[in-house]
């Protein structure tokens, strides 16, 4: 079993839809959680970064962490065609906080 599981999709939604992207993880020592967005032929860019359980909001994006069920989510409200990308979740172990543990990424297409 991989340490971080992420449904690869692809996910296709109409413009304006609410998108939910999810990851599960297996190690309760994971303390830091990140979402990266990667456009085609570009490097991943940091989108959201959280430490504790609960929600963190930034514009149309909300990151949610539920440590009790080891579940992390990224919600995108009013999705736009420019949100079409691959979204990668990543986590850091508090005891070994240099190496990120990655999900495989979910490919999202937002159709106009």
């Amino acid at each position: 079993q991989k340490e971080v599981e992420q449904d690869p999709g692809p996910l296709s939604v109409p413009e304006g839809a609410i998108v939910s992207l999810n990851c599960t993880y297996s190690n309760s020592a994971f303390q830091y959680f990140m979402w990266y967005r990667q456009y085609s032929r570009k490097g991943p860019e940091l989108l959201m970064y959280t430490y504790s359980s609960g929600n963190k909001e930034d514009g149309r994006f909300t990151a949610q962490v539920d440590k009790s069920s080891k579940y992390i989510s990224l919600f995108i409200r009013d999705s736009q065609p420019s949100d079409s990308a691959t979204y990668l979740c990543a986590t850091l172990n508090a005891g070994n906080n240099r190496k990120l543990i990655w999900g495989l990424g979910t490919s999202l297409a937002v159709n106009p």
Partner: protein
């Protein structure tokens, strides 16, 4: 803003060649990383460096080496390129504080013929 610059966006080399991929960051970050990214396999860590002249193997170091002579520069070396090293190579850096995220360059798409 953090800037991580990879020297080439696209590179084509022949099998058996020695290949150098260069990465430079401008934020005085202690840690630097080299990944490769392949469809269905995600991001896999090749090597990382936690400070100048320090290096540590990642998950797939075979066939690769690295060099970090200056803090801002981290080089990945393919000693004798093979076709199975055709991939997207990504460099990242981070500040060496607990929980700090990594920041990426735009990648080098390397083809070995």
């Amino acid at each position: 803003d953090v800037k991580v610059t990879q020297s080439s966006r696209y590179l084509v080399k022949r099998t058996g060649e020695k290949v150098f991929l260069e990465c430079v960051q401008d934020m005085d970050h202690e840690n630097m990383f080299w990944y490769r990214q392949d469809p269905g396999l995600g991001l896999r860590l090749i090597y990382f460096s936690y400070d100048v002249k320090m290096k540590e193997k990642g998950d797939i170091p075979e066939g690769y080496s690295v060099s970090r002579e200056k803090k801002e520069r981290f080089s990945l070396i393919l000693e004798s390129a093979s076709t199975n090293q055709t991939s997207m190579y990504l460099c990242a850096s981070r500040k060496n504080f607990a929980g700090q995220p990594q920041h990426f360059g735009d990648g080098t798409r390397l083809s070995i013929l």
